[in-house]
Every structure is written in C-alpha cells, then in structure tokens.
Symmetry: D3
C-alpha cells in the first residue's frame, strides 16, 4: 500500500535544514519536512528572567506561531484577536520543554536563548519540524555564545541532541511523518520527541477517532524512534557542513 | 520502599466521587484523589455551536480552572490577568478530547454539554481527577437529557467510559497517582487516559529531568492501565449508587 | 404571610460556617446561607503592595468570583472573556472595604491578607455570605500570623467583627436575607454591612422597580441590624469551636 | 463652623446646567457642581439590544469616564490600559440604574438612549453631578424623539425626575455636596439619588474610617433629601429655559 | 465658487484658543477650528521613562482620543472595546512627533510632558486642531516648569513653534482647512505640520479617490503653508494675552 | 560621495520579486529590497464584510507584521503582548489604502482580498517593499479569481499598478531607498507611493531631527518618483515571467 505522496509507511518526507537563514539572529534555520516550512531563530541575550537571577543558571524558552496564510484557509492573526490560542500555547510549551531537555543550565550560565518557530507553510508536522530545526538553530546560537565568551571556556551547554517526528494510524496502518491530508484522516496521532541516543523526551498520543490498543501504541513508538534517528543524522549533517 | 504517604508504588490515593453536589447543574460531582479536590459540573444546553448547526450531531467541551488558593502559594486569577495561561488551555483541551472519545455525537443529537472542572484544592493529579470526575458528571447529565427526551429514545450517547491517572518515575521507581510532592521530584511524568475496556485515549509523557528509556515507558504504561481500571470501577460504583 | 421557603419575614436562612476547609490557606471557611455556598480563603503574605512599603502598615484586599455553573444557567468564565465584569468588580471592592473597616493596619504590620471569595453555588445573598464568611477566614489567618510572630506580640490587628445581610421589599413586605427567587421579585433591594457593635460599614440600597420612601428605608435598616447581629453570633460560635 | 470654601454645612456648591452643549447629540449638557464639570450627552438610536428585541420596550444605559487630566495628578487612560477599572464600572452602572428608575420602557418603545458622562474636571461629586446632568440630557433626548415621532403620540417616557448629591461626615459634622478636599477627609461618605417627589432611588453609604451610627445615617439622609430637592429645582429651571 | 459654509478656498474657519481651561493641568487649552473643539492638556512630571533615565534629556509624548458622541453617530469607547484603534494610535503618534520637533530635550532636562488631546466635538481637522492647541498648552507647561525651577535657568526647551492644518482637493479645487462634509467628499486629503518659520515637520497626503499629480500636490502645499502661518499668528496672540 | 553599501544617492538596492512562494495562497510573493525580505500573500474569499454586503462591490485589506527576530534585537510578539502596536496599525492601514487605490471595486465584485505582509528580515523600507510585493501578489490573486470566474468576464479589477519607495535626507544629501543604518541617521524620512503612471497615492514625510524646507521636499519627491518607476518596471517584469 502506498501513501498519498508515494512514500512507504516508514518513510520520512524530504527533509532540508538550511542554516544561517537570517542576517540578524545568533542561530537561524529554515527547516522543511516536505511542504511544511518553519523558520527557526535562536536569540541569545545576556541575563535570565527575574525568578532565575543569581542562580548561575541559564534559560531556554520557545514561541511558536503560524503566518495567517501558512494554511489552506487563512486564519486570523492572534495579535489581531488579542489572545493566543490554546494550540499555540501548547506547542510553544512543548518546543521549550523539548529543547531544555538537552541543556545543561549551569554550563549555559546566566544567558537566555529564545527560540522562535514561525511556520511559513504548513502541511502537517509543524511542531515536529519546529523542534528538529530549533535544535540546529540552538546549536549555532550556543556556538556563537561560546565564540563571544558568554559561556565559560570548557563548558558544553548542550548535553545531547533532540529531534521530533509525528506518527499515526491511518486506515489501520501505522505511518511515519504524516502530511496534512494523512493527519486529518488519522485514527490515532502521536508526536514523539527523542534524544540522539534514542531515549524519549516527550510522547504525546491522542485517539482522534477510536481509542488505541497497546500493540498499536508499540508499533507507533517503534516507527517514531527510527524516524527521530534519521532526523538526528540530518541535523548532524547540517551542523557538520560549513555554513553558507 | 514506601512512599511519602505510606502507599505502595502501585497504589492509588483514596478516591471519592460525590454525585449531585450542585443544585443547579444537570450533572455534578465533587471528586477527590487524596487531597486533590475537583468540582466537576456538566451543563446541558439545547443546540450546538454555529459551525456544527444542522449536522444532527452534538458537542462536548470542557473548561478547567483552579481557585487562586487551591495551591500552597496563592496564584493570580486568570480573570484578573485578563488571559488564560498555557497550562490551563492545555488541560481544558485534554479534558474535552478525553470525554469526546466516549461520545456518540449522532446519538447525543444537537445538544451541547459543557464540563466545568474547578480545582478547589490541589495536591497533584488535578487533570486526571478532573477527567475521572467529569465522566461521572457527564453520565448524569446524559441521563438527565434522556429523561427530558432531549436525546432520542433508544439512543445511548455514551459509547464507553473514561478515566485517567498520572504515573511517574521518582528516584528510579515507577509510581502510580503522584501527589504534589512526588510530582515535583519526578524524573518522568505521564498522564494516561483509558477507556473502561483498557484502550488508550491519551498518553502524555514528559521527561522532567532526564530522557526516559523504552523500558521505563512500558513500566509506566502498565501501572497506568491498572490504575485506570480501578478508577473505572470506582466510577461504576458511584453511578450504581442511588444519588443522595 | 409566609415566604417561599416557609420563613417569617425577619428570619435568616440556615447558616453554616465550616472552618479549616482548605489544607493550604492560612484561613478558610465554607459558608452557607441556605443554598448559597461560598468558599472564603484568607492568604497571608509578608510585605505589602509597592505604594504602601515602608509605612509600617498592612493591607487587606478581596476578590470575588462565581464558578460558571454556580447559577441556574451557566455563565461564561471571566477568564475566558478576558475581562472582569462590572458586578464582579463592584462586589470585590465591597468585600475589601468591609473587612478593612475592622483592621488596625498598624497592628497588622507590613503583611498582606488576600480574601478570595468563590461562589460554589448561588441562591441570592452571595456578597453578604462572602463578607460574613471572609471575616471568619480573616480571623483565623490573623491568628495564624500571630502564631508565626508575623504580627508583633500584644497587638490585635482586628478592631472588631463584621457581618452582612441583604434585605428587601417584596410584595410590599420588608424581608430579611432574600433568596434568589425573592431577590428577582424585590421592589427594593439593600445590602447592609454592620460591625458587631451594631454600627454601619456599608449601606447600599437600590430601587429595582419603584423608588422607596424613607419609612421603607427605615424598616429595612431595622431588619438588617437584627440579621447582622444574629450572624455576628454565628461567627463567634464558629470561632469559639475547636477547629476540626 | 465654615467649610473650606466658605459654605455652610447644608449648602450646595454653585450649580450650572448648560443645555445644548454639543452640536451632534440628541441631548447634551455641561453640568458643573463647583469645579466639577461633566459633559453629559444622550444618544438616541432606534432599536434595542438583542435580548430585548420584540418586547416593545426601550432601554437606557450609561457610560462614565474621566479625561486623564481631569484630576490633580494625571491618570492613565483606560483605553490604553486595555481594561476598565472597577470604579468606572461601578459608577457607570449606578448612573444607568438611576436614570432607568424614571423611565417608562413601554412608553419609550423600542428605542435606546445611551448616556455618556465624561468628567472634564473633577473636584468631588463627579457621579452625582453626572446623574443630575444626565437627567436633563435625557429629557432633551426624549423630547427630540417625540418630535421625530419615534415615541408614540400621547406617551411620556419619563415617569419622573431624578437628581443626586453626595453627603458625608467630616470632623464629626454632616456636610452636603463634598468637594474633593472634604471627600478625602470624610469619615463617612454617602451618595444619594432621589426622585423629584423625594423618594430614594439609590442610597450608598460607606464608612471610610470608622463605622457610623444610625443617628449619623439619619442626619446624612436628611441633608441629602434637601440637596436633591434643590437640584431638582435647578433641573426644572434649566429645562424651562429656551435652549440657546 | 463658495464653500459649504461660505468660506473662500484659502480661508480658515474661525479659530479660538482658550488658555487655562483646566484647574489642574500645568497647561491647558480649549482650541476650536469652527465646530471642531479639542481640549488639550499638558501634564508635567519630573523624571523620564526608564529607557531615557540618566540621559539628562526630557521627553514629550501625546495621546489623542474622541468622546463617544463627539461625532454625528455615537462611536464605541475604546476603553470598553479594550483596545485602541489604528486611527487613534496613528494620530497620537503624529501629535507626539510634531511637538517633539520643537523641543530641545537637553534644555527640558529629565522632565516629561504628556499632551492629552481629547476631541469634545468633531467637524473635520481634529488632528490639526489638536496639534495647534497642544503647542500652546505645551508652551504654558514649559513656562510653569521654568517658574518652578524644574528647568535650568537660562535654558529654553522650546526651539520653535508648531501648527497644523488640513488641505484637500474637493471638486477639483484645492481647499484650506476642510470641515467634515468637505473631508468626506475630498479626492485628496493632506495634513501638513509646519514650524513658525515655514518649514515642514510632517506632510501626509492621501489619495482618497484618485491618485494626484505633482501640480496638485504643489498647490496643496502652498495653501497649507499659508494656513499654518495664520495659525502660528493666532498661537502667538493667545500666548501674548494675559491668561484669564 | 558614496553610501554605506556603495550605492549612488539615486540608486535602489537590488530588488527581487519571487512569485508563487506559497503553496496555499491565491497570490504570494517573496520580495526583497536588499536585506529586507517580506513575504506577501493574497487570500481571496468570496463575500465581503457585513457593512458592504449587497453593494456589488469588493474589498481589499492588508495586515502587516514582523517576525520577532526580523530585526537586530528580538522584539516581543504582539500576539503575546495581546495588542497591536501603533506602528503596526499604521503600516497595515497604509498598505491597505495603497492597494485599494488601484482597485475597481465594481469590477472585483463581492469578493475580498486580504494581503498579509510578514517581514521575515528587516533592513529599512519594510513598508515600501511590502506595498511593492503586495501589488504583485494581488495581481496574481486577481488573475486566479478571473480563472475561477469569481470575477465577471470582461472586467478588470485592477485599474493600475502601485509601488512604493522610501527617500530621505542623510548628511544633507537626498537618498533613495534607505537601508536601516541610513534610516536611523536620516534628518528627514519620506515614504512615497506612486501609481505606474507617476501620480501619487500617498506622501508621508517626517522631520526626524530638523524641519525640512520646500526645496528639500521637492528633491525628495523627484527621487521617489524615479524610484517608483523603476520598481513598477520590476513588477511588470516579474508578472511577465512564467511563474516557476
């Protein structure tokens, strides 16, 4: 059985990670998972939020948003509505937690990194693309901070790598990296965030139509672990390349 | 090894489900998981939101909130701040999705049920207590609607039952139904929502401190399934009792 | 002539004052005036708002709110609407002023007490029940602060006691402590806050349908003074009892 | 004993009521109580709010606001803060209730009158000046509506007149119509709204410093009734004059 | 060809500038351009916004607003809507920039002047009347600050004068100082802010219906320069007069 | 004298106009003026806002925003702040007016086009790049609507073309198309919007430091007209090319 776009069930969409996209940000990546395109920027500032001052520890946080016409139908701007929706909040929090999982706050010192993930075009998997791209932007920003001696010599603020992928059951078949059309038809939908050594940072599975059995959950987790490993390799390849 | 409150790792806190707590609501439950107390009311209104009109299908939604002094330190009211926080949004959405998983929209007809889950006292597991209590309030509200003939005769809007529990790894040991003190020390924290027949509606696991391995995830899922089954039994017992 | 619920015109509804309702708050009371139930918590924090710093004087403030289904028809949450309504503001301010009337700021020292009055179930008289309950929660919080030596030895921050009751003219007859059904039919409605020694802290009378004469106003004030005295006795009895 | 500005205790400040102040509004009045100046406009629109449609009855509502530099120290604009304060809400509601007390909704028919009371300069008693001025603007607006045949012939939408004044106890002496300096030093402060025939629409008394006794309350009510009668006479004189 | 109100194309409406309108503000002016009436107050406070502290330089800012019934149809209050509209923002910014153009920040020292321009009645040209009036209020406020020695002796914070006027093309004819009826029919509309020596501070021209040619732009600029000069003379006359 | 980036005073930065950037939008353009990059999408929906229904005429509106790290220092998101700033409002309104100047509403019929201009990277001139790019996106969207027969055959909704450029005086020299560094040092700054036939749609000149003379204004207008003509040629070239 082949998928809408001809992939096999365990195949990722084409992934591109373009570093140095922005002239201003300390780290910036345009990541694409197929037609999903997310601009991830990492902004470094000296100092930390008030509640953390004097701790000697840094902070990493994230904000996620979509351009109004990133989707098939134009959505109202949250700035115009005057409030951030639940979905946006939820995804921003997920991205922040995911990246903090690989940060050594002590090594980062009292610096803050804000990751902005703005979806320019959406075709499913925007949050997983955002996490995967944001990690690379974060790595570049950390290197920048090291170059500027904001981070103490000999300290490595990154304790690992992190990537994310969606998986789901569509028509009874577990699929890796759902595009939008698959996502809306999925019976079960799961987002999985893994470290480069194959452990879990987040597992979020939702029964969209019918509850799912343990065996289905296991199959989805298997798929996700493989997908995250492939994405980790793509991240490493991007970081190994000389920046344009 | 015994827990802070003397429980074994696989033991729930004392659970109480008090039906008919409110004079006004069509269904209302004061649920407690130990010192966590949540007032769940189910409000039935004829009609559905605009986007669903004419579909012949009903709708179920939920709102979660905490009283300012439900916690050890007083929190600012979200009404005073003028915006709902990310955590509140996230939990409200989780409760809504969980209960919609056992609703047959066609059988419900064009009626809306709003579940309000207000935490009167918090000691960990407020969202899981809310889901577990809200199911019972929903069942009472559906029965009320059937009594009023709002629901067509011979139709059963509830396609199953749903309960939820938190699990986590504390000091390397998987524990069921974390109280607040355990929750803040947990290395990994997971909320699991199951149907009465043991399938999953939601699985949300988060590495608070260190990423977790597949074996740990499996152990947590095992614990959660048992806990949800016990809670399902408590729900059935409460619903079987004659309401005060 | 007997009332809807069988009371005489000058009779209060059954009043209960349950202390120590919350595990976390320094003072907490579940107060009921018939079917009206309000959870009042008193939260003590060291320090005062910025505009009062260095004055050596304390501060007391209050916030009032209703759960969405406290009433017969579900109301929208003010946190969801993003703004607090005029009625909520007005009652919060009334409760704060009423309790500040019996506070000796100097004796309280630079401590703040926030009174949260959340209506769990409404059947008329929610603001008067809130004031009456909040006084008891405040007294417990003050005692707690004295036990912790936050308040200087030999100082008594409470300069008196305060209670409140509604009165109104229904069908030409002055009635004490209106329930909801009476309240909506009242020609004139008045809320009166008295100290334990029978003086007035607040008098708020409103002609709902027709303007009222001086004689009617006098009759209502007479009723209210008696009701407040009874409530003061109930407060003292509650405070005299050993807390559960 | 003479007052700050040389008045006797039972003397009003100079009152002026200037009709036809605005070119656009159906009724408009610049009212002054001494240095307190309020611009009151009455705007008539055909139709009523949704919840009142088809009832055959009209509606009257009010909004109160202060220019930022109406007071001695500049206040932040509520439009800039993005929310209306409790005091503004409370006064808007008071003005609306006061004027609705003399409206015959049936006679008004399905028309709405909005009263805007904007304080241009404040020196105590802004809400009472607003009510007193708004009545005159309302009378002009009603006459305008009658002239346009929006109101059925032979119907009189105004069932009476309404005026308001503040009273208070300063240094133990009951005073009529407090200016700002008196207001801040008052032990007790009361706003009273009366109809032209001497009955009460609103009585709002507050103990600012010490609770007040029944005898004090009675003395204040006596003063207020006299003051409101004088203001009613001033309103009648203004309405009798040919508009400039 | 004569205009709606009988003026010639290059004629201003009657202009009045009434100083000392408010008892509280350091400078205050009621300015009228025909039926357009704007109350401009200048409030002086010692100190500057945080981002300017320690610079030795002052700050001037402005806020513009309209009373709800300043216009022919009542508009909703921005405080009630909870947000400031684009037009309000735009005009507030224009007024602030215009007045800052004639301020010597060093000479002003670390003081802030806030200019509040509240439109009491609107008939076209509210922003230009506001700038013209605000300049006079600012001059009075600066003089007040000099009298109080807030400004160092021998320093003149005002480096010039500023006034503003609207011009437009109506029916093919360039007109000075449009009233509302002309404004709505204008093909092109321009607001011009000039210093007393005839140079430009702001030029904002908009094609309402059809794009305009360079020759039309030139004709409008010519008219505007003449109008601003007349207004500058009126400002000087007002400032020369002894304040009432 | 050469400029920071080596240009002559009357030279534009390199301009690129990339059509068809987005998979979803009816028209989409990534426009760059040097390092300023703006993504412009045009969204077509059938129907018009309520106030325009039944008129037979269409509507065009625009929203402008900046990604938080489009600039050198990260700015807070307006969605997070809960309100749109004055600058954003002002530019959105300018873009909307500029494009409406070349729309024949009758020919467009009751369709709405929303132009979203999101600045991905900012280096001066974001509003002029937005207008220039939005025109091309609008042209593509109109062609799309014609292809779908949303627009009546034989009607051309575009009555002309529109482009925009900034000009300013830096160090006494009039310059075309300011980059950010020039913009912050400009004594005078002007944005000019022209139609393809060289007439003006908007002229907005501001004295940043010192007022400017008529001769300077004239020189700036001359420069702007030339720049807009060059941009109009670039737009035509882009539209003539076969879309990728």
């Amino acid at each position: 059985m082949s998928r809408i776009d001809g992939r096999t069930p365990e195949q990722l969409r084409p992934v591109t990670i373009e570093r140095g996209w922005s002239k201003h940000a300390e780290g910036s990546v345009l990541v694409s998972f197929g037609d999903t395109k997310v601009l991830c920027t990492a902004s470094v500032t000296e100092g930390v939020p008030r509640w953390r001052k004097g701790s000697g520890e840094g902070w990493v946080t994230a904000e996620y948003a979509m351009l109004p016409r990133a989707t098939n139908t134009r959505g109202d701007r949250e700035s115009v509505k005057g409030r951030i929706g639940g979905r946006t909040h939820e995804i921003s929090r997920l991205i922040g937690r995911s990246l903090r999982a690989v940060i050594d706050y002590k090594a980062l010192g009292e610096n803050t990194v804000v990751l902005d993930c703005d979806v320019l075009q959406a075709d499913g998997g925007t949050r997983t693309a955002a996490i995967t791209g944001a990690y690379v932007a974060l790595a570049d920003a950390v290197a920048w901070a090291q170059g500027r001696k904001l981070v103490k010599a000999g300290r490595q603020p990154l304790s690992g790598t992190v990537s994310a992928v969606s998986v789901g059951i569509v028509g009874g078949v577990p699929l890796l990296d759902l595009c939008y059309e698959e996502d809306v038809r999925a019976e079960t939908d799961m987002n999985v965030v893994c470290t480069g050594d194959g452990r879990f940072v987040e597992v979020q599975g939702t029964a969209e139509a019918t509850p799912f059995a343990r065996a289905e959950l296991d199959a989805l987790l298997d798929l996700a672990v493989t997908g995250c490993a492939e994405l980790a390799a793509a991240q490493q390849a991007a970081l190994a390349a000389t920046r344009a």
